[in-house]
């Protein structure tokens, strides 16, 4: 082993970094972050400092049941709404002016009026026709607020989803359809194997937004005696006047929406990875 002859250089400390001045945006940003931290700390203090175990253990199980009802409402309405939306989207693009007009009227009505009002119309309106509905043997369905709410949600999201699918289907270049026709494919086959899969990829993002809107919108169900998450929360508050229940509900809704949004982003990235250049 020969000894190194190179001169030994002592380790140098790195040069000082650029000085970050306290500019106006930096002061404002730090102050605002401070405000958020203070609000967060206030919430934690309220949740733990004013924690009432009686309220928690009595109403948390009810809120968990409510969460289940909310989940059911959203899953069912998105699913059934999706099934109805595809024929409606096709009707919107129909060559018959009558079919097109009817479909447009349906979509315009449900997108142009508040969900809350639609729900009241269906729920209280159905109550006006007890005799008629009984004669048709349908009263058992409309008697339950849950069913009325679910039906309203399905009809509502059908309109929104139909618009999403219509836009998505129209975004597929005409050449795709023409090429399929040239190859001798039947119309139905062209739609299901060529147009629809591509349209679904375009529809993915607005569809995710629609699910989030539905989760948030479903809170109005609590206004016609359905005990969804919001309903259970309102019940707990009206009985205990413990404001913390609203904070719990906010945290639950927020977590679900954020988790879904992030998962949806990931799924979309994954499904469209072949489209990234």
């Amino acid at each position: 082993m020969s000894e190194t002859t190179a001169p030994f250089i002592e380790a140098q400390s790195p040069p000082p970094g650029a000085v970050r001045k306290w500019t106006l945006p930096r002061i404002a940003g730090s102050a605002l972050c401070g405000v958020w931290i203070a609000i967060g700390a206030g919430l934690v203090w309220s949740l733990f400092g004013a924690f009432d175990p009686d309220v928690f253990f009595k109403y948390m199980p009810r809120m968990a049941e409510g969460l289940l009802v909310t989940t059911q409402l959203v899953v069912f309405s998105i699913f059934f709404g999706g099934l109805l939306a595809i024929p409606l989207a096709l009707a919107r693009m129909s060559s018959s002016a009558v079919v097109q007009g009817l479909a447009f009227g349906y979509v315009y009505f449900f997108r142009g009026t508040p969900l809350l009002g639609q729900m009241f119309l269906l729920y209280y309106g159905a109550g006006q026709f007890v005799d008629g509905l009984e004669a048709l043997n349908l009263w058992w369905f409309f008697r339950e607020a849950y069913n009325c709410v679910l039906l309203t949600f399905v009809l509502n999201t059908t309109a929104y989803q139909a618009e999403i699918y219509k836009t998505a289907i129209e975004s597929i270049p005409r050449g795709q359809r023409e090429a399929a026709e040239t190859l001798g494919l039947k119309k139905g086959l062209t739609f299901w194997k060529i147009i629809f899969p591509q349209a679904m990829i375009t529809a993915l993002r607005p569809l995710g937004n629609e699910i989030i809107l539905m989760i948030k919108g479903s809170a109005v169900a609590s206004l016609v005696t359905v005990f969804d998450l919001m309903g259970a929360t309102k019940l707990a508050f009206s009985r205990t006047f413990d404001f913390n229940v609203y904070i719990w509900a906010a945290i639950i809704y927020f977590t679900i929406v954020e988790a879904l949004r992030r998962t949806w982003d990931w799924v979309e990235k994954r499904l469209t990875r072949h489209l990234v250049r």
Binding site: L116, L121, V257
Partner: protein, 236 residues
């Protein structure tokens, strides 16, 4: 038809109540708009600024108010605002304070509106090439002039479509204030239904009014959009 007679003006009919409710719905939406737009623009400035802490604060704002149900936000503002104000006032006086429903509705709807509009503005900012304000500064305009004369007109043009959608959503969301005892269109309809037992008729009328409001808004917004985009070259 005696149903139509129910819509008469005055003490015998509900026409004037529905009209008053419609007025409140429209004025609540109109009162929320400037406030929601201004905060949305500020939050968007935060999001697009180079300062990390400002970006974080702005993103937290959007994430929170975009992720909560509007109804829950409204109830939290209404009841929570009551508690907070009560505690602040208790320091000075023992007077009882009550949160005004209109203000609570305006704040809650404004928070939600500004969270969404900040996203619209932020993406509009990204659509304006950095060279535009830079060129304005190079020509000797002040920062404020560059914003007002160069950035803002383009910003409006790029964001008008998204903002129009938000306005239509806001108009429908005002119906939520009926739960905090504010006499908007939907609540007055509830009162009419309670007294006449004609839910189908009255809710249909109310929804029709909302539909007409949306229709008028869509027409008006379309005209505004045409106006701000008048400089764009038309294709074919």
């Amino acid at each position: 038809m005696d149903l139509i007679a129910q819509l008469a003006w005055g003490p015998s009919g509900w026409g004037d109540e529905l009209a008053a409710g419609t007025m409140l719905t429209v004025s609540l939406a109109l009162a929320t708009l400037p406030f929601g737009l201004a905060i949305g623009l500020l939050v968007a400035l935060g999001k697009t600024s180079g300062e990390k802490s400002l970006q974080t604060a702005a993103n937290v704002y959007t994430t929170i108010f975009r992720g909560l149900p509007e109804l829950l936000t409204l109830l939290i503002v209404y009841y929570g605002g009551q508690i907070v104000l009560q505690q602040i006032f208790a320091l000075f006086t023992d007077a009882y304070v009550e949160v005004n429903g209109f203000v609570a509705g305006m704040v809650a709807l404004g928070l939600v509106f500004s969270a969404f509009s900040s996203e619209v503005f932020a993406s509009a900012f990204k659509g304006i090439p950095a060279g535009q304000p830079e060129a304005a500064l190079a020509l000797g305009l002040t920062r404020w002039q560059a914003f007002r004369l160069v950035t803002l007109p383009q910003l409006i043009r790029l964001s008008i479509g998204g903002l129009s959608n938000l306005w239509l959503i806001l108009l429908k969301e005002t119906s939520l204030v009926s739960v905090i005892a504010l006499n908007d269109l939907l609540r007055n309809t509830n009162v009419a239904v309670g007294s006449t037992k004609q839910p189908l008729f009255f809710y249909s009328v109310a929804l029709l009014i909302y539909l007409v409001l949306s229709l008028i808004s869509a027409k008006g917004l379309g005209a505004i959009e045409d106006h701000v985009k008048r400089g764009e070259r038309r294709v074919a």
